[in-house]
């Protein structure tokens, strides 16, 4: 079931919502159980057999976590040799191994088999893919739980709350990657079952905005970017402008798609009085790659930092080791996104970016340079955006060769095509240059160039100028605040004149005018839900 479907909006959600608060009036535990059942139903809507995998994973991780927690809390004074295998550390090791094996089998088995067959000449069978939705998300969530239990940070072992923490439908399929310590206490609060109109109003509005972002912007962008990448997959060679259009449109599509899902998840959850962590903080306003990763998919970055980068040693063992750790973290982060070389390269590229960024920061500190003025920040922001766009080309392309073809196009190696209307005006001056043709801005895919330019401009304006969800609803605290941001506020990038407008007009207020605006937006969005359009991050 998709958030952007009529069945979810008009049937599933109202039933779950009213059911939860009705049951919650009488019994808190039953209300939690109701939410668990609803979440499993939501998950099983795609494929019932996935529910079995999810439940098995939950039972295994809860039991192991319970055992680990029990032993960490009360370690035996003398440990017999026969019980070494049940020591917390061993249990943790085996539990993580089981989780990673399940994830590896479902997600990566075919990748390894294909590559071994290709490079080592083996004949391993390529099986049919059985990839339960959201497996990467619920596996990571539970690994974090196990590690924290081992470290003695987990205090609550209520099975219903644990199951709800893992299965909670707003986040189950595509995150945010939740942390038990920010969720379980919220589920345990008695007033979670009491209807809170503040949360309903804010949550409803955030959900509508997220829905509009997905349906009106992300899906529209997909109509332009997908044909270009598909044409490249089929052997086409995009020329300069078309390649840039494709790359930029995908850059925006991915952001609007994924952040829309996060917004919808945050909005839905808020209506149940549960605050999810923020997942995006205007990432394309970042002025460095380090800044970008503090703003993009923040909960995944947090996970990678806390459970991979820091355990690897973080920055504690010298610069070389730090850079190596960064690279390993980003390569694995890339691989987490998908079983393909393009994802690994994307991760590696970002690892390299981060290393260069740290080297640059170190150099600046050594030279005692300051951050520079606004122009320098603008340049840094543009360079960061460019680096991110190049990375997304690998992320989106079906193969490395397709990505390289796109990048060739972006640097003009496949020639330049201008609008046919310009041929009469400037064509005669360029007759001798065979790299220049006048077949339109999209000679490969031929969509309406005006619309492509309009949607691109609109998208860029939104990501660069407008406030994000958290800023719009700042005074209502729609997200939990555990994720460390450490970024500059979006306003700081705005010219002085815009800052005034920003603070006056871009703070959501619960008034009649906004209710009307949201109602119109909701209806327009609903009317556009005419096709099944899954979220990009479902595949991860």
């Amino acid at each position: 079931m998709l958030f952007n479907s009529y069945i979810f909006i008009f049937v599933f959600f109202p039933i779950v919502f009213f059911g939860f608060f009705h049951i919650g009036k009488h019994n808190h535990s039953l209300a939690s159980l109701w939410l668990v059942a609803a979440s499993l139903f939501f998950y099983g809507w795609w494929n019932v057999s996935f529910v079995g995998v999810l439940l098995a994973s939950i039972i295994f991780n809860y039991s192991t976590g319970y055992l680990i927690g029990h032993r960490v809390a009360r370690p035996p004074l003398i440990q017999p040799v026969s019980q070494l295998a049940t020591q917390p550390k061993s249990l943790l090791f085996w539990a993580i191994a089981v989780n990673l094996t399940l994830l590896g089998y479902c997600k990566y088995a075919n990748f390894f088999a294909t590559n071994l067959n290709q490079f080592a000449g083996t004949a391993l069978p390529i099986g049919e893919v059985f990839l339960p939705l959201g497996i990467s998300f619920f596996t990571f969530t539970q690994i974090a739980f196990l590690v924290d239990t081992y470290q003695g940070k987990v205090k609550e072992f209520n099975f219903v709350h644990y199951t709800l923490f893992v299965t909670y439908f707003p986040h189950l399929i595509a995150g945010p990657v939740l942390h038990h310590k920010e969720m379980m206490p919220q589920f345990a609060k008695q007033n979670v079952c009491h209807l809170n109109w503040n949360n309903v109003a804010v949550g409803l509005t955030i959900f509508v905005l997220g829905l509009a972002k997905k349906v009106l912007i992300a899906d529209w962008l997909a109509d332009f970017s997908s044909p270009i990448f598909n044409a490249v997959k089929a052997g086409g060679q995009p020329m300069l402008f078309e390649a840039w259009f494709g790359a930029l449109e995908y850059t925006l599509q991915l952001y609007f798609d994924f952040s829309a899902y996060s917004d919808m998840a945050i909005g839905l959850s808020l209506m149940f009085n549960v605050r999810l962590p923020m997942n995006f903080n205007s990432p394309y306003k970042a002025t460095s790659i380090i800044d970008f990763w503090r703003r993009w998919h923040m909960t995944l970055s947090r996970f990678l930092r806390d459970y991979l980068y820091i355990p690897l040693g973080g920055s504690r063992h010298g610069k070389a080791q730090r850079y190596l750790n960064l690279m390993i973290t980003m390569l694995l982060g890339g691989f987490w996104h998908g079983a393909g070389w393009t994802f690994i390269i994307w991760g590696g590229l970002h690892g390299l970016y981060l290393i260069l960024n740290h080297v640059w920061c170190g150099f600046k500190t050594k030279m005692a340079w300051n951050d520079g003025g606004k122009l320098a920040k603008l340049g840094a922001g543009a360079l960061t955006f460019l680096a991110v766009v190049v990375g997304w080309v690998f992320f989106r392309a079906d193969s490395c060769s397709s990505a390289l073809t796109m990048l060739q196009g972006m640097v003009g190696m496949n020639g330049v095509s201008l609008p046919a209307s310009l041929e009469g005006k400037i064509g005669p001056y360029f007759v001798q240059y065979d790299w220049l043709v006048f077949s339109g801005l999209h000679p490969l895919t031929n969509p309406d160039g005006t619309h492509a330019l309009a949607i691109l401009s609109l998208g860029l304006m939104i990501v660069w100028i407008l406030p994000n969800m958290k800023q719009l609803f700042q005074q209502y605290r729609p997200v939990c605040i555990d994720v460390k941001e450490g970024t500059q506020s979006a306003e700081s990038h705005l010219p002085l004149m815009l800052k005034g407008i920003f603070s006056r007009h871009f703070q959501w207020q619960p008034n009649k005018k906004n209710a009307l605006v949201m109602a119109v937006l909701f209806l327009i969005t609903l009317s556009r839900i005419t096709r099944i359009s899954e979220f990009l991050y479902f595949q991860f």
Binding site: V437, F522, S527
Partner: protein, 403 residues
Amino acid sequence: MIMKKYSIQFILFSALLFSIALLTNYLIDPYRIFHKPWVRENYYVPEMRIQASGIINTEKFDSIVLGTSMADNFSPAEASKVFGQKFTNISLNGSSLAERSLVLNYALEKKKLVNVISSLDPDTFDKDSITGTPIAPYAYLYDGITSNDLQLYASDPTILRFALCRNILFTSDMLCHDTRELEDLTEWHSIKAQKERFGGLHNWLTKSNDHQIKAALANILKSIQVINSGQAKAVNWAEVARETSKNQQVFTDCLLYYAAKYPKTKFYLFFPPHSRLRYAIMKQSNPQAFEVYLEILRFVVRESKRYENVKVFGFETELFLDDIANYKDTTHYHQRFNSKMLYWMKNGEHELTTSNLDDYIKDITTRATNYSVNKIGDQINDYSSGSFIRGKNGMAEIMDDPR
């Protein structure tokens, strides 16, 4: 309290605006799904996959033309005159046989049809269901349940534009300049950009940015390469049998089924007379596709013989197919041939029967074999060596077009 008020306002505004939009659309009913015009002028919207349902619901007729763009130019008035019945043309551009069967079924259930004229475009026999076709989102308009037809007016805000268009409050047609009269609802022959492409190859070449022309030129040049290099793939008869079998099933399910169910309705089925160039390209560069086509011809004629109410027509022995000036691309013929076809079908000329089929196939095969595709290629190259296409690879650029 403010938040509660806001939430309720949001829900009420949503419900109110939704109801107003739905009521307005119902009142205007631009596609006449529910009623004839009450408060607006009489017009029709040429989105035929929707409009066909409205025409069936609210218009009076007893005969239909239901084909692809090959049948778009049949004039309902002329068909009515020729056949002596009341015709309407509800052809669906680029439709598969499966799509048309959805509409045909609906029309046959709602009306007592006397005649059905339908084109048999062999390349539209390949899909056995409407899944993924352009009519799929509107299938509910053809399920016989009136109440769910309201979805149409609840699902597309752009339909509200008709509220500001040629009605008792607004006289402007700015927002509905695409509307038409019933007589010319489907035709494309009067559209300037289409009309200009008839008259000869040079008229195609001057419109080389048109996607149909691009595809046609690319197809011609690629075929010439195959023909001249002698690399045309040999016929694999097993594949021919497999493809034919699927096509036969689609034809049986989507057309003959209705002929059997409605024996009083006469079905005039015709194979559209594409240009000889197209058949020659098929025969000379892709003989397997040509054999599949011939197999479909044989099957259609053989099976249709079992039904007294089905007549099959083929016009490929006509000489007009040889002259590219009668076509706006390799497939679409001039509307005067639609007119002629009406008379031929009414008079039983060019009817294909089991007794004349072998001669017909022999004749059209010979014509397709002897037609010189190279001659057309030479003309294209002569033209392009002028100033036709400027680019790094000249005509090769057309051939590289991935579509």
